[in-house]
Amino acid sequence: MPNPIHSEKKVSTMKNKTINVDYLSRVEGEGALRVDIQDNQVKDVKLNIFEPPRYFEAFLRGRDFREAPDITARICGICPVAYQMSASHAMEDIAGRKIGGPIRELRRLLYCGEWIESHALHVFMLHAPDFLGYEDALQMAAEYPDQVKMGLKLKKIGNALMDLLGGRSVHPISPRVGGFYKVPTRQELDAMVDDLKWAKDASLETVKWVSTLPFPDFEIDYEFVALRHPDEYPFNEGRIVSNKGVDIPLSEFEKVFEEEHVQHSTALHAHRKNGGPYLVGPLARYNLNYDRLTPTVQKAAEEAGIAETCKSPHKSIIVRSLELLYACEEALRIIDQYAKPECPYEEVKPGAGRGYGCTEAPRGILYHRYDIDDNGAITDAKIVPPTSQNQEMIESDLRSYVENHLEMEEEELQWKCEQIVRNYDPCISCSTHFLKLDINRK
C-alpha cells in the first residue's frame, strides 16, 4: 500500500486563511500560487508566474522569416515542435502556400513524437503521483515500478521519433518553412514500427490503469477551445472552435480572444473579449473532436467511462492517455503509408504580408502571427502559448475548488490546490512571456 502523504481528513478552521505555495513542483518552469480567504469567502486567487519575461516577440523583429521556426523552438524544451509547426505554417500562410502530401504527413508524425514524449512524462512522472498520494515519481516507483518503467519507455519512444524526424529530440533542427531539411527513409521509419506497436499496447494499458485512479467529484462547465479539422484529430490544421459558439479561421483569433497583462504574473492572461476564461489542451481537443478519434481510442474511452465528454480536470490524465494511444496509432498509420518525397521541402517565398499559424501543442493551441516586409524580414510577431491561455481558467478552477472546500485542513487544501494546477500540465517557461502557493485566511 502506498503511504499517502496527505490524508483526506477535514477539520474546523479559522475564518481567515492564506494558502501559500512558494514553489510549485512537478510543473515545467517556475511559478507560485496564492489564495486569500476572508470571512470564509475566497477573496483572491493569483497564479504568480515569476519566471522572467522572455521577449521572444521583440527579438524576432528584423530576423529573416526562415529563422522563426528555429528561434521560437527555443521557447520550450518540451514542446519545440509546436513552435516550429506554428511558425512554419504562418510563413507559408503569408506566401499563400499549403504544404500537402508526404511532407504534411511527416509533420503530423513529428507531432506524434512530441505528444507521446510530453504526455508520457506528464501522465506517469508528474500527474499519477497526485492520485496515489506520493510526493513524486521517485516515491511512486517503489510501489509502481512497472508503471514508471512503462512511462519512461513510452517517453523514450516519443523522443526516438523526434530524433529521427527532427535530427534531435530537444529543439529539433530538421523542420523548416516548407518542410524539412532532411526526411527519413522508408527503412528508417520501418525500424520504429515494433516500438510503436509496443507503445500502442502500452498506451491502451495506461488508459485502463489511469481510469481506475481515485478522482474527486469536481467538474467545470468549461468553454473548450481547440482546432477542428474536417477529417482529422487536430495537430497542424483546422478552424478555431469552441463549445460556446466560436467557429473562426485563424486570422480572427485576435478578434475573439485577447491577452492582458496582470500585475501578479510575468505571463499574459488570455480570455474571450468581453467574456471569461477558456480552456485549451487535451480536454478541449477531446470534447470538441471526439468524433475524429479512431475506433480503438473511442472504445478505450467508452471502457474508461468518459466517452464523448469529460468535464473533470482531474480526469485529464485519462484523456492524455487516450491521446497517447491516438498518437501511437496515427504514427503507425503514417509510417505504413509513407512514400519518401523527392524533395524534403517545398520552396516558400513570401512577399510582404501577414500570416497566421495555430497548431495543437500537447498543452493546447499555440497561436503565431507574423508580419514580414518585402525582404522577408519580420516586422511584427505575436505568440500566444497554451499555458498563458489557461492561466485564468486555472485560477477559476482553484477558486471553485477552494470555495467548496473551505473547511478542509490547511495542508490538505494546499496539496489539492497544487494538484489542480498540475491537472493542466502547465508549461511556465512557455507562458512567460509561470508557480509557488499561498492560501491566506483573514
Binding site: 518552469g29 512522472m125 515500478p145 519512461l152 519507455k153 517517453k155 516500438d195
Partner: protein, 168 residues
C-alpha cells in the same frame, strides 16, 4: 510486450552533462569532445546531454561501466575536481543543481536503483564551476580541470580494458 533494441551498445559509456552556451556549465561536454578525438580510445560510447535525468536512465541501463562528467556548484573553489564511485560513496543531493525541468543526476540514480536499471558500475566526475553566464568560453580554472578529468577518464578506460580498474 517487448521492444526491440536497434543498436548494439558498447559496455562502456561516458556521458558529459551540461549546456555549452552557459560558459563553465559546458565543461562536461568539452571533456567528451576531447575524449572522442583520441584515437587510442575504442569500443566506448560517448554521449553529450543536457541535464535530463530521465534520459540518463535510458542511456545507462544494462551497461557495465558508466562514467559521468558533470558540473557542480557546491560552493567550493572553482575548478575543484571530485570523483565518486556512485554505488559505494554518498553523492551530494545537489550535485547537478542546474536541472530545472527534469530530475537531477542523483534523483536519476535513485530512480534507476528502484527500477533496477542501474549499470554495473558508475563513476562520477564533478567539476566545480563558477561562471554560468551566457557564452561558450570556459573560465581558465574550469578549462584546466576539464583537461585533467579527460586524462583521468582515459586512465579509467585503459584500466577497464585491461581489467585492472583502480579507484583513484
Amino acid at each position: 510486450m517487448s521492444s526491440s533494441g536497434k543498436h548494439r551498445k558498447n559496455n562502456v559509456l561516458v556521458i558529459g552533462i551540461g549546456n555549452m552556451f552557459r560558459c563553465d556549465d559546458g565543461v562536461g561536454l568539452c571533456v567528451i569532445e576531447d575524449l572522442q578525438k583520441d584515437p587510442e580510445i575504442t569500443g566506448v560510447d560517448f554521449m553529450m546531454m543536457k541535464p535530463d535525468g530521465y534520459s540518463l536512465i535510458e542511456a545507462w541501463d544494462s551497461r557495465e561501466l558508466v562514467i559521468v562528467v558533470d558540473a557542480a556548484m557546491s560552493g567550493g573553489p572553482t575548478g575543484t575536481i571530485r570523483r565518486f564511485e556512485a554505488f559505494s560513496e554518498s553523492i551530494p543531493y545537489n550535485l547537478s543543481p542546474l536541472s530545472t525541468h527534469a530530475i537531477s543526476l542523483t534523483e536519476a540514480i535513485k530512480l534507476a536503483e528502484t527500477l533496477d536499471q542501474l549499470p554495473e558500475r558508475m563513476i562520477i566526475y564533478a567539476i566545480e564551476i563558477g561562471d554560468v553566464s551566457h557564452g561558450d568560453e570556459l573560465s581558465p580554472e574550469v578549462g584546466e580541470a576539464g583537461k585533467k578529468v579527460t586524462q583521468k577518464i582515459k586512465q579509467e578506460l585503459q584500466a577497464e580494458s585491461e581489467g585492472t580498474s583502480e579507484v583513484h
